[in-house]
Symmetry: C2
Subunit: 109 residues, 2 copies
Amino acid sequence: MGATKSAFFTDKQNNLANLAKALGHPARIAIMEYLVKVNACVCGDIVNELPLAQPTISQHLKELKQAGLIKGTIEGNSVCYCIDEKAIDRLQEYFKNISIRLQKNNNCC
Amino acid sequence: MGATKSAFFTDKQNNLANLAKALGHPARIAIMEYLVKVNACVCGDIVNELPLAQPTISQHLKELKQAGLIKGTIEGNSVCYCIDEKAIDRLQEYFKNISIRLQKNNNCC
DNA sequence: TTATAATATCGTAATATTGCGATATAAAGA
DNA sequence: TCTTTATATCGCAATATTACGATATTATAA
């Protein structure tokens, strides 16, 4: 054993876990925050922004993309990345919902 | 190599990555959703709710607790768990902020 | 005191992630 | 064409996660 038992959970649960997992690394949080900061499609800069080697960043970008958190567009020589708002909105909604439900009836010890 | 280079990132980035990482597993999402559903402190039930062995769930609960997502209170024989609202609020705020900043000026390709 | 019950920890095997050097790929420029 | 630039992929070592049986711990019940 050792592999995650994804099959035992709902698609929604697995999907959300995948989004969260993709954000579960400081380098990927830093990439997201950089994309928010510059507020635009960014080509190339990301490698210069972080203290990690190019292949490592390429891998992190791939994971963010696979989770649906960022989009990448080929622009001639390079690739431009930007945040996919839909994913952010989905996360925001999810936590807002939990927050509301907790406030309604919070009989915690 | 192989270890995450946490030292190269800010405390905020590491902290957020830790929260996200804790939610990056369907079993832990399922635990959180169960706690929201019952809307109360829950003792014991969790093991019966999920298709995982008791030690595995105990471990997942520990990770959620260490990340600050849930609180556990010893109640005689058993332990009662509930969601820590502060963590949820922090996540909600974080994504709301990103969402707002993206909507303001989204020049994405 | 001796069960019983609820939970945690240990130990370990299977698997996944992280990081990067080396190398491939693919477009732009000389 | 040949070189440069930007990015991706391969392959591998180090480390981390996942899962669970066995066992420890701790509190209640008999």
